[in-house]
Amino acid sequence: MTKSALAAEIAEPDYLHAPTKFKGLFGWIFSTDHKRIAILYLATMMLFFLVAVILGVLMRVELFSSGRTIVDPQTYNQMFTLHGVIMIFLFIIPGMPAVFGNFMLPLMIGAKDVFFPRLNLFSWWLFLAGALTVVVSLFLPGGPSDTGWTFYVPYSIRTTTNVIPALAGAFILGFSSILTGLNFITTIHRMRAPGMSWFKMPLFIWAIYSTAWVQILATPVIGITLLLVTIERLFGIGIFDPAMGGDPVLYQHLFWMYSHPAVYIMILPALGVVSEIIPVFARRTIFGYKFIAYSSIAIASVGSLVWAHHMFTVGMSNTGMFVFSLLTFLVAIPSAIKVFNWIATLYKGSILIDVPLLFVLSMIVQFCIGGFTGLMLGALAVNIHVTDTYFVVAHFHYVMFGGAGFALFAAMHYWFPKMFGRMIRRKPAMIGWLLMTVGFNMFYFTMFILGYLGMPRRYYDSLPEFLPLHRIASVGSWILAAGIFLVVANLFISIRRGAKAPMNPWGGKTLEWTVPSPPPVENFHEIPSVITGPYDYSEYEKPEAGE
């Protein structure tokens, strides 16, 4: 595909060991190298992810038996708020673009860095500042916010817990997300290698591109909304207060105008990762490249118009409900197009079973379950029945964790050799994958049943008839958590003890596999010129060349 393979043989320190302006930690936190910034994001994000996992496990322990088990109701409320805020704003929204987008985007389009490297570092600093602001709320008198991650008014204006630090943290994190998106769009427009036309870009780049647009166009809305709640708390201008003529439902509209598109910030890059991994492990050219590329754009644009399906029960005109329900059904079409194309790619492929593909396969099944239950929720009649129950919680965990989260782990295992120059030890990874898949489905599928039977979300306690199902879910959550910790521990151990990774361990055809593992600071000695599309497996597809 390129000529740079030869040049890469020349010994040059990789980005992990190259001399930097500052020594030690400062060499990282002041580095403008997109690869180092990606690792910074990865480290901070993983830390917060594990904290939120522990919070989740503790909540499941609390629900294991009736009455008080380990914490009191107020602490429980603060725990689910913190779990939500961390998972959404600190893990899954920045996760894929900031870590893998940052690391892989320049490599995959044949560039030496992103367009604004210093802005990129500034984004990470903002991310850290936002994260610390959220953490500060834990230690101020009053304790962390107990509003749920949605910060619904009027409660978020009345509660005495520290809502403002949480809002300010989310605001700063949003700003960081906007700057990352802006950087990526400019990079993709201006820095593609010669010959890489739009339709020769890897599909992950298409996904990152669509995501970046959602990041910059949707995030400001949550910015102003959170600012309004802050002003409301500080000065009481009455915008969301019915006593002064304000409308609390307006808050929900503004909130979901961002937060529904944000769902696509979380899932689109995940879908992009799946589109990368499947052709490599099936040894086949991706089926329907253009359809997958356009479906990313379609999901991003239609997905921006469906926000009020979160609010079917708060009071809306019938026309409004009908339109939002219809649009919600429409988003399913581009999502399904992707799934069909992945399956068509796997069909008759020379499939190589390895850890990244296993995560991807779990992801596809779970994403489908999450998607279909999303359609059930989009249907007006069913929605009224299951609003604010475990059904909703199970649905979004299937999409966010079963989909985006599993894809993130797939990406981690797929690109780990490139990022750290080591192979991941396969056996613990496979056991971890098995535990995660079994635990995940045991946990959240049970929640679907609980929700359909009427178990409301965010409740501290449950009726006795729900207890057996709660116990199954709790055990599932522990298996899932065991799997997560095994996988993460294995990643850490593999950084030191894994076998040395070759340049292209999986047989990938995209540009990041044409540079050494780990890549040198400048990525490419000479900017490659691109001739073929990103997934050229024609040699495997000839009948005589079967593997």
């Binding site: 998106g181 400001p220 102003i224 201008i237 915008i239 003529g245």
Partner: protein
């Protein structure tokens, strides 16, 4: 140092920098867009009360501020035109004029706000709470939106101040003025938002 300079030279792409700036301006517009939605909803709900409250603002001071901002946008454009012709001193004086005009805008805003506050109209004031809901919301939005705009004026002044330093140090010069263009674009954004705020609060009765 020489290597870093060489790298930055090869990476220079003014078109890309402009794309980045425009994308950022989109986000700013949408930030205010959220406020305009809130305004539209409440104006629709409390049509008459918004009219009555709107009549209480001083159209003269609003018009004056509009003229000040429009003039300041003109001086920014002229400042870019001057640097393109290599007239460093002229460019710097025009830019300084912009900052001074921005300062006048804020002074007017200060008098306007303190006048209202002296009359007992500020969030949660006893005077305001006696008024009907629509007027409370009107003044809530007035303080929120003009306040957010004033914050952007201050940020704009800081940005233009940096530009002034860059011109003085020849970082911005006849061949490389994309930074100044970006600063100018930001200033126009501040201007354009005011162009919408002015009729919405002062003129529509």
């Amino acid at each position: 140092m020489s290597k870093a300079a060489a790298v930055s030279h090869t990476h220079r792409d003014d078109e890309g920098s402009r794309i980045g700036m425009w994308l950022f301006l989109f986000t700013e517009l949408i930030l205010f867009g959220g406020m305009f939605i809130v305004y539209a909803v409440y104006r629709f709900k409390h049509f008459d009360e918004f009219r009555i409250a709107g009549a209480e603002l001083d159209v003269f001071i609003g018009t004056l501020n509009t003229l000040i901002l429009l003039t300041s946008s003109w001086t920014v454009v002229m400042s870019i035109a001057a640097i393109r012709r290599g007239k460093k001193i002229l460019s710097m004086s025009l830019l300084s004029a912009t900052i001074v005009l921005a300062f006048f805008f804020l002074v007017n805003k200060y008098f306007e706000w303190s006048h209202k506050i002296a009359h007992g109209i500020y969030p949660k004031s006893p005077e305001l709470m006696k008024k009907p809901a629509g007027e409370i919301l009107y003044f809530g939005l007035y303080y929120m939106m003009t306040g957010l705009h004033a914050l952007h004026v201050i940020i704009g002044m800081i940005i233009l101040g940096f530009m002034l330093v860059f011109i003085a140090r020849n970082v911005i010069n006849q061949d490389s003025f994309v930074k100044l263009e970006a600063g100018g674009l930001y200033w126009h954004l501040v201007d354009i938002i005011w162009i919408f705020l002015f009729p919405l609060f002062y003129l529509i009765h």
